[in-house]
C-alpha cells in the first residue's frame, strides 16, 4: 500500500540531506563544541554553519539565533523571558485566541502571575486584522505575541502591524511571532518588520524533531529561566544537541526558494480545492487567502475521527483539527465561531514539496468513498 502523507503541519519526513548530516554528526563529528581541542572546534564550526543557515533564512545575523529544543521551548523562552524582563514597565500582554497551546498555556501562567492578557478574536476564517492589534496595544503593553500562520486553518496574521502598533502607542512592548508554520514557507524578515522575537522549528521543514530556534533581535534582553554552563549565551544552557542542530541546518539548506515553492503549493492547493468543491458535503474552513500549504475543510456528516481512521486504513494520513489537541474540540475553529457539526467533521490537509496532484486524486476518491459508505451519526 502506498503512503499518502498530507499531515506536514504536524510533522514532516526528514529529508535525506538532514538525515545524513545527523548521522555524520553522531558518528564522526561528535565533539562537544565547548571542548578546546580540534574535534571540539570542528563541532563548533558545524554549529556555526547551522546557525548561519537559519540566520540567512530569516535575514538575521548569526548572533541573533539561539538553538532550542523546538517551537514550544522557543515560545516559552521568549514569552516568559520578555514578560519577566519588562514587568516593571507594565503588565499588559496582547495575543490571539488562535495561538498554539505553547503560547496560550504560557499566557495562562502569566495571568496567574498577575499579567493582564488580551486575546484577540478571529473572524470566521481565522483572520485577525491590523486594526484589532492597533486597538489592543496601549502604553501599558509589554508584549505582543502573534502567530504568523495559524497551524489549523493556515490563516496569515498581519504580524508587521504589531510592530507598528507598538511604536504608535509609544509602548515598551516586545513583539514575538510564533513562525513555526511559516518558516521556510513565507519570506520572513523579522528585523525589517520590527519583530523582536521569532520562534521556528526544524521538524516542520523536513528537519529532525527536538530542535528549533529563537530569533532574538540584537539588543533585546530576555530573563533566562534555565541555568547552566553558559551555552547559547546563557539563554538556553546545556550541551548543544549537535546532531539535531546540524540536521536543522542541513534541512534549511535543502529548502527550495520560498517564493517558487509557494507558487507550486498554490497550484496544488487550487487543484485540491477544485476536486473537493464537487463534493456536496464539503465546506472549506481555510480562507482562499490562507497559506496554500494548509487546507482545512469539513466533510459534514461523518465525524472527523471516523473519517481519519477510514483514510488511514487506506494509507492516507491527515489530521482532524490539530494533532496537538488530540481528541479535543479545536479551540481555533471554536474561536472562529463555526457550527458544532462543522467543527466535529473538520479535517486538515497539510502539504509538502513531496506531494503530487496524483496523490490528491487518490485522496479525493477515498473521501467520496468514505462519505457514501460510512454510517452517519448525529454529531
Amino acid at each position: 500500500m502506498s503512503e499518502l502523507y498530507f499531515d506536514n503541519s504536524s510533522t514532516t519526513r526528514v529529508c535525506r540531506e538532514a538525515a545524513e548530516k545527523v548521522m555524520e554528526t553522531m558518528t564522526e563529528n561528535y565533539g562537544n563544541p565547548s571542548s578546546l581541542h580540534s574535534l571540539g572546534f570542528r563541532a563548533e564550526r558545524a554549529m556555526d554553519e547551522a546557525r548561519a543557515a537559519v540566520a540567512a533564512r530569516l535575514g538575521a545575523e548569526k548572533e541573533e539565533i539561539y538553538f532550542t529544543s523546538g517551537g514550544t521551548e522557543s515560545n516559552n523562552i521568549a514569552l516568559f523571558g520578555a514578560a519577566h524582563a519588562l514587568k516593571k514597565r507594565g503588565n499588559h500582554i496582547v495575543t490571539t485566541q488562535i495561538e498554539h497551546p505553547s503560547v496560550l498555556n504560557v499566557m495562562k501562567r502569566l495571568e496567574q502571575e498577575g499579567f493582564r492578557v488580551t486575546y484577540l478574536k478571529p473572524d470566521s476564517f481565522g483572520h485577525i486584522t491590523a486594526e484589532q492589534i492597533t486597538g489592543a496595544v496601549n502604553g501599558e503593553t509589554i508584549l505582543v505575541s502573534l502567530m504568523c500562520v495559524n497551524n489549523e486553518v493556515g490563516s496569515i496574521l498581519p504580524v508587521e502591524a504589531a510592530a507598528q502598533a507598538v511604536r504608535a502607542a509609544g509602548s515598551p512592548a516586545l513583539v514575538h511571532v510564533d513562525a513555526v508554520q511559516a518558516f521556510g514557507k513565507l519570506p520572513l524578515r523579522p528585523r525589517q518588520a520590527g519583530i523582536d522575537l521569532m520562534s521556528v522549528s526544524a521538524h516542520k521543514i523536513h528537519g529532525p524533531k527536538g530542535v528549533g530556534a529563537l530569533y532574538v533581535r540584537r539588543g533585546v534582553h530576555l530573563e533566562p529561566h534555565v541555568f547552566g554552563g553558559g551555552q547559547e549565551k546563557n539563554l538556553r544552557p546545556g550541551t548543544e544537541g549537535m546532531p539535531l542542530i546540524a540536521g536543522f541546518g542541513a534541512a534549511v539548506g535543502a529548502l527550495p526558494e520560498a517564493r517558487a515553492e509557494l507558487r507550486t503549493m498554490e497550484e496544488l492547493n487550487a487543484y485540491c480545492r477544485g476536486k473537493l468543491e464537487t463534493i456536496p458535503e464539503v465546506t472549506f474552513n481555510s480562507a482562499p487567502d490562507a497559506l496554500p500549504y494548509i487546507l482545512n475543510f469539513s466533510a459534514v456528516g461523518v465525524r472527523a475521527e471516523t473519517m481519519l481512521h477510514f483514510l488511514s486504513d487506506r494509507g492516507i494520513y491527515l489530521s482532524s483539527g490539530s494533532a496537538c489537541s488530540r481528541g479535543r474540540e479545536s479551540h481555533v475553529l471554536s474561536a472562529m465561531g463555526l457550527a458544532r457539526e462543522r467543527i466535529a467533521s473538520a479535517l486538515r490537509l497539510s502539504f509538502s514539496r513531496y506531494n503530487t496532484k496524483e496523490e490528491i486524486d487518490v485522496f479525493a476518491g477515498a473521501l467520496r468513498e468514505g462519505l457514501s459508505g460510512l454510517t452517519r451519526r448525529p454529531l
Binding site: L36, F41, E61, E63, A168, R191, Q192
Partner: protein, 392 residues
C-alpha cells in the same frame, strides 16, 4: 510606490580635481557591497548617490544596513520617489510616512527645490505639505524648532523625493583611495579598531596574524577571521596572512634575556609584517598600540619596535584611552568577539617581569644571538593566505 536609497556624500565633496576618481571608487565600493541583494541601479547626481532597485526582489533594508558601513557617505535615508506634481507628492508623503507620523506628536516639513521650473518655491512646498499632513494626522502639531520628526521633500531634476530623518553614514573617505597598508592583528580589542580607523581614511587593508600552534588553537585563528569579517563590513575584502610564529618564539626564549622577550618578539613581527606588506604592495604597517597600555607599549618599547621597521608604522590608537577604544569596538561590533578568552601568540610566552624601558642598543645586542633574517624568511615562506569576504 517606488522606494530608493539616497546617499549624501561626505568629505569627498571637498576634493578638488581628483574628486571624480574618489567618486568612482565610492560607486564601485557601493556596488560591491550590494552584491547578492538583488539588482540595483547606482548613479550619482548633484552630490547625491541614488540607489534604485531594479526589481521587487531587491532587498532595500539590508542594502541600507550595509551602506551605512561604507566609508565616504555622510548620511543615508530611504526615500519615496514620485512624479513632480504637488498632489502626488502630498499623497506620497502621507502614505509613505504614515508609520512614523502616527507615532510622534510634533513635526515640521523641510523642502529643497533644485528644479526651478517647479511651480511652488520651497517655503510654499513646506506650507502646503505641512497643512495637508496636519489634516491627515490629527495627532500632530507643528514645531519648527524641536520637532520629533522632520518630513523632507526634495524636488530635483528627474523626480521628487519624500523622506524622513536621515541616518548618519559611516563618514570618512572611500576605501581604496588612500593606498594600502598591512594591519598586524592579534585578536584583542585594539587591532580591529586600528584597522577600522585607517580604513575610514581610505586605506585598503591587508591583514597579518601571528599564530603559535601548538601553543595557540585553531579557535584563536578563527576568532581573528571573524574579527576581520566584521571589520570587512567597513573595509571591504582583504587577504589575511597567518604567520606560523611558534618557532621564532621558542628561539627567543632559548637565546635572549627573558625580560626582553616581548620587545624582541615584536621587532621580529615587524620584520615579518614588513616583508609581507612589501610583497603585497603596501606602503605602511598599522598596529593597535596605545601609549602606556602595557609594558611593550611604553614610549621606550615603541622606540625599539619602531626601529625594526623600514616603512611607516601607523598607530591610530596611540593617544586614545582604553574606554574610547572599547566604545569604538562595540560600535563596529568586534568587542564581543575580542573578549573571547583564547590564548593568542602574545599571551603564551609572557615574561614575568618584562623590561618597561628597554634601551635600543641592549635590545639590538641581545638580538645578535638570533639569525633574524633566516627566521623571518622561514616565517614568510610558510605563511598561509585566507581571503576575507564581508558577510552577505
Amino acid at each position: 510606490m517606488k522606494e530608493i536609497i539616497l546617499l549624501k556624500l561626505g568629505e569627498v565633496v571637498l576634493k578638488g580635481l581628483n574628486r571624480r576618481s574618489f567618486e568612482e571608487t565610492l560607486l564601485k565600493n557601493i556596488r560591491r557591497r550590494l552584491d547578492g541583494l538583488g539588482s540595483f541601479e547606482v548613479h550619482e547626481r548633484q552630490s547625491t548617490i541614488y540607489v534604485t532597485p531594479r526589481d521587487e526582489d531587491a532587498d532595500l533594508f539590508t542594502a541600507q544596513e550595509r551602506l551605512s558601513k561604507v566609508f565616504g557617505i555622510a548620511s543615508l535615508t530611504r526615500a519615496c520617489e514620485v512624479g513632480k506634481k504637488m498632489e502626488t507628492i502630498l499623497d506620497a508623503a502621507a502614505e509613505y510616512l504614515r508609520g512614523p507620523l502616527s507615532a510622534v506628536k510634533t513635526f515640521k516639513v523641510e523642502s529643497k527645490r533644485s528644479d526651478k521650473q517647479f511651480p511652488l518655491n520651497s517655503p510654499q512646498i513646506c506650507k502646503e505639505a505641512g497643512g495637508y499632513l496636519l489634516s491627515k494626522f490629527p495627532n500632530l502639531r507643528v514645531d519648527v524648532n524641536h520637532p520629533d520628526y522632520t518630513v523632507r521633500i526634495e524636488v530635483r531634476d528627474a523626480a521628487a523625493y519624500v523622506h524622513g530623518n536621515a541616518e548618519r553614514g559611516a563618514g570618512g573617505i572611500p576605501v581604496g583611495t588612500g593606498g594600502k597598508a598591512a594591519i598586524l592583528i592579534s585578536g584583542g580589542i585594539d587591532s580591529p579598531v586600528a584597522a577600522w580607523m585607517m580604513a575610514r581614511r581610505g586605506v585598503e587593508l591587508t591583514a597579518v596574524h601571528f599564530a603559535s600552534p601548538p601553543y595557540t588553537s585553531e579557535r584563536a585563528e578563527q576568532k581573528v577571521r571573524d574579527l576581520l569579517t566584521k571589520v570587512g563590513a567597513y573595509a571591504g575584502r582583504m587577504t589575511m596572512f597567518t604567520v606560523p610564529f611558534a618557532k621564532v618564539q621558542e628561539q627567543i626564549m632559548a637565546n635572549c634575556p627573558e625580560e626582553l622577550f616581548t620587545v624582541i618578539m615584536r621587532r621580529l613581527m615587524m620584520r615579518c609584517a614588513e616583508k609581507i606588506a612589501r610583497n603585497e604592495g603596501c606602503g605602511a604597517l598599522i598596529t593597535g598600540e596605545s601609549l602606556g597600555q602595557v609594558a611593550s607599549q611604553t614610549l621606550e618599547a615603541i622606540v625599539c619596535t619602531d626601529a625594526a621597521a623600514n616603512m611607516p608604522v601607523f598607530r591610530p590608537l596611540i593617544g586614545m584611552d582604553k574606554r574610547e577604544i572599547v566604545e569604538i569596538s562595540s560600535r563596529i561590533d568586534t568587542y564581543e568577539l575580542s573578549i573571547q578568552p583564547y590564548e593568542d601568540c602574545c599571551t603564551v610566552f609572557t615574561p614575568k617581569h618584562p623590561r618597561t624601558k628597554p634601551a635600543l642598543k641592549y635590545v639590538e645586542k641581545a638580538e645578535e644571538a638570533l639569525d633574524c633574517a633566516a627566521l623571518v624568511d622561514e616565517c614568510v615562506a610558510n605563511v598561509k593566505k585566507t581571503p576575507i569576504t564581508p558577510l552577505g
